[in-house]
C-alpha cells in the first residue's frame, strides 16, 4: 500500500506536509493489507517464514495488485505469536503458522470469511474476539508508544511520515523556541524511563545551561534486564519515533551531535535504527539544516558489547569514548561533564519516544495521563508465570492486579500467585497483599522495589523466594564491573550466604548479616547497580521471612525448589504405572513394577532433576 517516495531532501515544513498528503492520497484505504508482526517474540515463531509464505502465495495467485504484505514491529502479545492483522477489516489472527497461509488467502482475503481457529479465544470465557482492540490483553492497555508498531513497516520512513511522523519536529523547529520546548516537557511531567525517573525537562534544562561545547544527546538502548525487551521493541518497531524525539531534544538543548548506544545483541534494532538514520538524513530530517530550519544534528550509532553496567550513564559514556565501561561518581552531573567531559544529555529509548507525543498533543494532554507524580504511559515487559506474556503499555497508576490479571490473564495453570518482581534484576519482590498497588515511580520505591526500565516478572507458588533472590544476586555478581568494593566483594559474600541457605547450610545469624551487608551496599556503592542490588534480598526477607526461616531452621524448602532440601516420592494411589517417568529419568532411579502397579523410586539414585514430576500428568510425583 506504500507509494515509493520520489521526494529526496525536504527543505521546509510545508514540504513535509506535502509529502504526507501525497503519501496518504497515493494509498488506497480499501486495499487489503496483511500486516505480520516481525518483532523479537514472533521471530521465534518463524514470522519471517510466514511473511515469505504469504508473499509467495500472493505471487503465485497473482494477487500482488490487490494485496499488500507488511512486516511490522512488535505487537506485544508475544504469548500468541505469530500474529497478523488483515486490513481494512482489522481481522486479528494469532498463532498463525506457514501451513495456514493458503487458507487465510482463500477464506479471509478472497472471501472475507473469518477463520475461527485463528481468532483469539479467551481461555476462561471461551469468547472469541475477531478484532485486536477487543481482545482483553489489548483492550485494557493504552498503547500510545507501541500502538503505531501495528501500522507501519519500521524500515519505511514513508510509513512513519504518512501516519503523522515528524510533524512534532516541524512544530518544534518552526513554532517553538528551545525554552518553550523545555517548558513543555517540564510541564508534561515526563520522567526518565530508564530507571532513575529523573524529570526529563529539568535534565534538558541543565544541559542547555551547562557551559561547554559541543553538547551531546545520547539515546540509551543498552537494555540488559533479563526478560525485558521494551526498548528493543520500540527501536525495532518504530525507530523514527525515537529519532524524532532526539532531534527535538537536541534542538531544545542546543546540541548538534548525538549517539544511539545500542546493544550488539539486538541486531534488528541496530539495523533498523541505522537504516532510519540514513533515511532521515536523505529526507532532510536529520543532518545539516533540518527541514531548512538552520538547525543541524548528526546522529551516530554505537554498539555496546553486552555488559549490563553499560546501561549506567557514566559507564555508557566511558564505553562510547572507547574506554572500559565502568561508572564514575556523579558528584558532577553528566549534564555538566559527560561524554568527553562535555555537557551531555542521556535519555532512554522510551523517554525519547514520548517527546513527539508531548509536542504534538501538548503538556496539558499528556499530564492528564498517569498519577500525580508519574505522567504518561509505561511499557512493561510482563513475563514469568502469567498466561499472556508480552509487552504491555498502560497509564502510570494502573494496579499490579490489573496488569497481571486483567491484561496478563492471571497465573498459568491456575496456580496461586506468589510474587511479582518489578524493575529488573535489582528490583524488589512484591507480595500478593500489595497487588492493588498503583504502579508508578514513587509507589514502587515505597514498597522496596522500583520502576527500573519496566521489567515485570511474575512468580507463583512453585517459586522459592530464597532461590529467586539467589538467582538475581548471581546475575548481579556476574554483571558488577568490580570497580568498587561493596558491590564486588559485598554481592559475592551475599551470594555465598544465600547459596548456603538454599543448600541447607544456613546459619541463624545469616539473615541479620544479609541485612547488614545490604545496608552497606545501599550506602556505600559507587553507582546505582550496587545501590539497588540489595533490593531482591531486602524485599524477600521483608515479605517472605518464613521461607528463609524454613530453609535455615527446618532445612526445608516450602516451594520444593532447592534440591538439597527436597526429595521426590511416588504417590502410590495416583500412579497407574504407565512408565513415562521411568523413561524420563536420566539416572534409572525409577523402576517399572507392573501395569497398574505404582513405580518405585530409589532415593539413593535420584538427582532431583524433577524430570519425573514434569512429565507426570497425573500428579503422582510428589515433592517434600
Amino acid at each position: 500500500m506504500r507509494v515509493k517516495a520520489t521526494t529526496g531532501l525536504i527543505n521546509s515544513r510545508q514540504g513535509l506536509e506535502d509529502l504526507r498528503r501525497s503519501l496518504t492520497a497515493g494509498r488506497d484505504p480499501n486495499k487489503t493489507c496483511i500486516a505480520i508482526c516481525t518483532g523479537t517474540g514472533c521471530h521465534a515463531y518463524d514470522c519471517m517464514g510466514l511473511v515469505a509464505a504469504f508473499r509467495e502465495e500472493i505471487g503465485r495467485q497473482q494477487l500482488g495488485d490487490r494485496v499488500d504484505v507488511t512486516a511490522t514491529g512488535c505487537r506485544g502479545f508475544c504469548e500468541r505469536g505469530a500474529l497478523l492483522t488483515i486490513y481494512p477489516q482489522g481481522i486479528f489472527y494469532q498463532r498463525v503458522k506457514s501451513e495456514d497461509v493458503k487458507e487465510v488467502i482463500a477464506e479471509t482475503v478472497l472471501q472475507g470469511k473469518v477463520i475461527d481457529r485463528l481468532v483469539y479465544a479467551d481461555p476462561h470465557s471461551k469468547e472469541h474476539f475477531v478484532h485486536q482492540e477487543d481482545v482483553p490483553f489489548y483492550r485494557k492497555q493504552q498503547r500510545l508508544l507501541l500502538g503505531n508498531n501495528n501500522r507501519i513497516d519500521p524500515t519505511s520512513i514513508e510509513d512513519y511520515i504518512r501516519i503523522g511522523g515528524y510533524a512534532a519536529l516541524g512544530k518544534a523547529l518552526f513554532e517553538m523556541s528551545p525554552e518553550q520546548i523545555i517548558d513543555e516537557v517540564k510541564e508534561s511531567g515526563l520522567r526518565g524511563r530508564g530507571g532513575g525517573g529523573f524529570p526529563t525537562g529539568r535534565k534538558w534544562e541543565s544541559t542547555r545551561h551547562a557551559e561547554g561545547q559541543p553538547k551531546y544527546v545520547i539515546c540509551n538502548c543498552d537494555e540488559g534486564d533479563p526478560g525485558a525487551y521494551m526498548d528493543r521493541s520500540l527501536m525495532e518497531g518504530n525507530p523514527h519515533s525515537v529519532l524524532e524525539g532526539m532531534v527535538i531534544g537536541a534542538y531544545a538543548i542546543g546540541s548538534e551531535s548525538g549517539y544511539v548506544y545500542v546493544r550488539h545483541e539486538y541486531p534488528l534494532a541496530v539495523a533498523n535504527v541505522t537504516k532510519a538514520i540514513r533515511q532521515a538524513e536523505e529526507h532532510g530530517l536529520l543532518g545539516e539544516n533540518i527541514l531548512g530550519s538552520g538547525f543541524s544534528l548528526k546522529v551516530k550509532v554505537s554498539r555496546g558489547g553486552g555488559a549490563f553496567i553499560c546501561g549506567e550513564s557514566t559507564a555508557l559514556m566511558a564505553s562510547l569514548e572507547g574506554r572500559v565501561g565502568e561508572p564514575r561518581a556523579k558528584y558532577v552531573h553528566t549534564s555538566e561533564k559527560g561524554l568527553y567531559g562535555k555537557p551531555s544529555n542521556l535519555n532512554n529509548v522510551e523517554t525519547w519516544a514520548n517527546v513527539p507525543l508531548i509536542i504534538n498533543n501538548g503538556s496539558g494532554w499528556y499530564s492528564q495521563i498517569g498519577t500525580a507524580g508519574s505522567k504518561g504511559t509505561k511499557i512493561f515487559s510482563l513475563v514469568g508465570k502469567v498466561n499472556n506474556t508480552g509487552l504491555v503499555e498502560v497509564p502510570m497508576g494502573t494496579t499490579l492486579r490489573e496488569i497481571i490479571y486483567g491484561i496478563g490473564g492471571g497465573i498459568r495453570g491456575d496456580k496461586r500467585f506468589k510474587s511479582v518482581q518489578t524493575g529488573g534484576p535489582s528490583g524488589g519482590f512484591i507480595p500478593e497483599s500489595m497487588l492493588d498497588l498503583p504502579v508508578d515511580f514513587d509507589e514502587l520505591t515505597k514498597v522496596g522495589s522500583m520502576m527500573g526500565s519496566g521489567g515485570m516478572i511474575v512468580m507463583d507458588e512453585d517459586n522459592c523466594m530464597v532461590d529467586m533472590a539467589r538467582y538475581f544476586l548471581k546475575f548481579l555478581e556476574e554483571e558488577s564491573c568490580g570497580k568498587c568494593l561493596p558491590c564486588r566483594e559485598g554481592i559475592k559474600r551475599m551470594l555465598q550466604i544465600l547459596t548456603d541457605i538454599t543448600r541447607g547450610r544456613g546459619r541463624d545469624e545469616d539473615m541479620a548479616l544479609l541485612e547488614r551487608l545490604s545496608g552497606n551496599l545501599v550506602d556505600a556503592s559507587l553507582c546505582a547497580l550496587g545501590g539497588t542490588a540489595a533490593n531482591p534480598i531486602l524485599t524477600t526477607i521483608q515479605y517472605y521471612r518464613d521461607e528463609y526461616v524454613a530453609h535455615i531452621r527446618d532445612k526445608r524448602c516450602p516451594a520444593g525448589v532447592c534440591k538439597e532440601l527436597i526429595s521426590y516420592f511416588i504417590i502410590d494411589e495416583k500412579c497407574p504405572g504407565c512408565g513415562l517417568c521411568v523413561k524420563a529419568c536420566p539416572k534409572e532411579a525409577i523402576t517399572f513394577v507392573a501395569k497398574k502397579k505404582p513405580v518405585l523410586l530409589d532415593q539413593e539414585r535420584c538427582i532431583k532433576c524433577g524430570a519425573c514430576r514434569d512429565i507426570c500428568k497425573l500428579g503422582a510425583v510428589g515433592v517434600k
Binding site: E479, Q496, N520
Partner: protein, 240 residues
C-alpha cells in the same frame, strides 16, 4: 574560599578542593586505600566515606576523595553510619586479603577482629584492587602497560591478554606504589625482572662506577620524552 564544617570544626577551604584534601590540610584523618596524591581520585575502595549534611538538612554518604567542598556543608568523618559502613568494608577486605598487613592494621584500628563469613570462604589474595599500579602506569608514567582485566569478582590487574606487558619500560612505578607489595620485582646482575607482568629488562651500566642503575628501556623512554641529548644517561645519578 569555601566555608564548611568538618567534625564540628569550622574550616575554610579553597574552591575545587575535595573533602579529603580539606580535612587532611586541617589535620583531620580519614583512612584511604585507593587514594594517592599523585593520582586522579578514583573512589573504588570507599573507605574514605564521610557523611555530609546539606544546608536543607538532607544527608548522605559520599566518598571524600571525590566530593568537592561546598559552602555551608557539614561533614562528619566518624558518625555512627560512617563507622558502621567502614567496618563492613574492612570486613569485606579482610575476607579477601586476610594476610595483608595494611588491611589487618586498618581492621585493628576499627575494632574488626575477623570477618563474619564462614572460615572456608576466607581468601588470601595479596591484591586489594585499588588500581594504583594501573593508574600510575597510565597517568604518571604514560605507557599503560597494564590494565584491569575482566569484570566483577574476576577483576584483576593484568598485562594485555594476560600475556606479557609489551609496553612496559621496567620503571617499577607499579611496584613502588602498591600498598600491599604484591608486585614482585628483582634486579639480578644486569637484568631486572617484574614477575607479575612476565617481563625482563637489561639494566644500564654506569660508565664511571660500573653499577647497573636503571633499565635501558626506561632511560630510552625518558630520553625521548624529555628530548635529552644522546649519552645523557651514560653515568648514574650518583656519579654525575
Amino acid at each position: 574560599m569555601v566555608n564548611l564544617t568538618i567534625d564540628g570544626r569550622q574550616i575554610k577551604a579553597r574552591e575545587g578542593m575535595t573533602l579529603l584534601q580539606a580535612a587532611r590540610e586541617h589535620g583531620i584523618d580519614i583512612p584511604t586505600l585507593c587514594h594517592n596524591d599523585a593520582l586522579e581520585p578514583y573512589g573504588a575502595c570507599r573507605v574514605c566515606l564521610v557523611e555530609i549534611t546539606y544546608k536543607n538538612g538532607r544527608n548522605r554518604l559520599v566518598t571524600s576523595c571525590l566530593y568537592p567542598v561546598e559552602e555551608g556543608l557539614s561533614v562528619s568523618t566518624n558518625s555512627e553510619r560512617v563507622t558502621a559502613n567502614r567496618k563492613i568494608l574492612v570486613e569485606l577486605l579482610l575476607a579477601r586479603c586476610s594476610g595483608e598487613k595494611v588491611i589487618q592494621d586498618l581492621a585493628r584500628k576499627l575494632g574488626v577482629e575477623s570477618p563474619p563469613f564462614r572460615p572456608e570462604y576466607i581468601e588470601r589474595n595479596a591484591c586489594i584492587l585499588c588500581a594504583q599500579c594501573v593508574r600510575a602506569c597510565q597517568e604518571v608514567v604514560g605507557v599503560s602497560a597494564i590494565s584491569l582485566a575482566n569484570r566483577g569478582v574476576s577483576r584483576e590487574v593484568a598485562p594485555p591478554f594476560l600475556e606479557t606487558a609489551t609496553a612496559c619500560i621496567g620503571c617499577g612505578s607499579c611496584v613502588y606504589i602498591c600498598p600491599t607489595q604484591c608486585i614482585k620485582m628483582e634486579d639480578v646482575g644486569d637484568t631486572r625482572f617484574i614477575h607479575n607482568w612476565s617481563v625482563e629488562f637489561k639494566l644500564k651500566k654506569c660508565k664511571v662506577c660500573g653499577n647497573h642503575f636503571a633499565p635501558e628501556a626506561q632511560l630510552e623512554y625518558i630520553t625521548a620524552k624529555a628530548n635529552l641529548p644522546p649519552g645523557f644517561f651514560d653515568t648514574c645519578t650518583t656519579c654525575r
